[in-house]
């Protein structure tokens, strides 16, 4: 049972560099999410997707881009890394209930990113 898999686990970037955080899930969930966790700030939603080809902004989308070409994969792209993007990034997936609620999220183990 792989669940939600994120790579890499750790990364150090220089200011202005770009990178892609990979996320894949094998539960056939239609919903996928990217969150960032800053100390004392909880989890902030960056982007989300309700299905292949459909993405939308969350609470803190600036500086990031996403794509969803398949149900399984939801990569997060940082184009010009900035120190403010130093954080722990979590990918998550879920399904919707018949009542229309987003059911519980399944999270990956996170990516610790430092921008220096």
């Amino acid at each position: 049972n792989a669940g939600v898999t994120q790579t890499p686990k750790f990364r150090i970037l220089k200011i202005g560099q770009s990178m892609t955080l990979q996320c894949t899930q094998d539960m056939n969930h239609n919903y996928m999410y990217w969150y960032r966790q800053d100390p004392g700030m909880g989890l902030k939603l960056i982007y989300y997707s309700v299905g292949a080809g459909i993405t939308d902004k969350g609470e803190v989308p600036n500086g990031y881009n996403v794509s969803r070409s398949t149900t399984e994969d939801f990569p997060l792209r940082l184009e010009l890394a900035a120190p403010s993007q130093t954080s722990v990034y979590f990918c998550a997936s879920s399904y919707s209930s018949q009542a229309g609620n987003v059911e519980k999220l399944f999270f990956g183990s996170g990516t610790q990113l430092s921008v220096l």
């Binding site: 919903y31 909880g42 989300y48 987003v102 183990s109």
Partner: protein, 112 residues
Amino acid sequence: DQQVKQNSPSLSVQEGRISILNCDYTNSMFDYFLWYKKYPAEGPTFLISISSIKDKNEDGRFTVFLNKSAKHLSLHIVPSQPGDSAVYFCAASRTGGFKTIFGAGTRLFVKA
């Protein structure tokens, strides 16, 4: 604007006693609430949830209470165990919405 608030950054409890973690929300459209538990270097994991049509949901040692008029929910852990030491996140969503909004978390320490 924080829509989900956990005003206690940390809580320390003796093993065997009750732990009570609190959460407030401001958006009256929220109708589904969840608690997640997070250990260091791991992703959050789902713990328990409650729909707004209920005021209580219980799962073993964990009980969540919802007070809609006060826009307040709480998580009770009885009895608390050292393995319960973790960060607990309160989260909320609404029917027809796609987003789950999280609070800042409360770090629980259970002392043996």
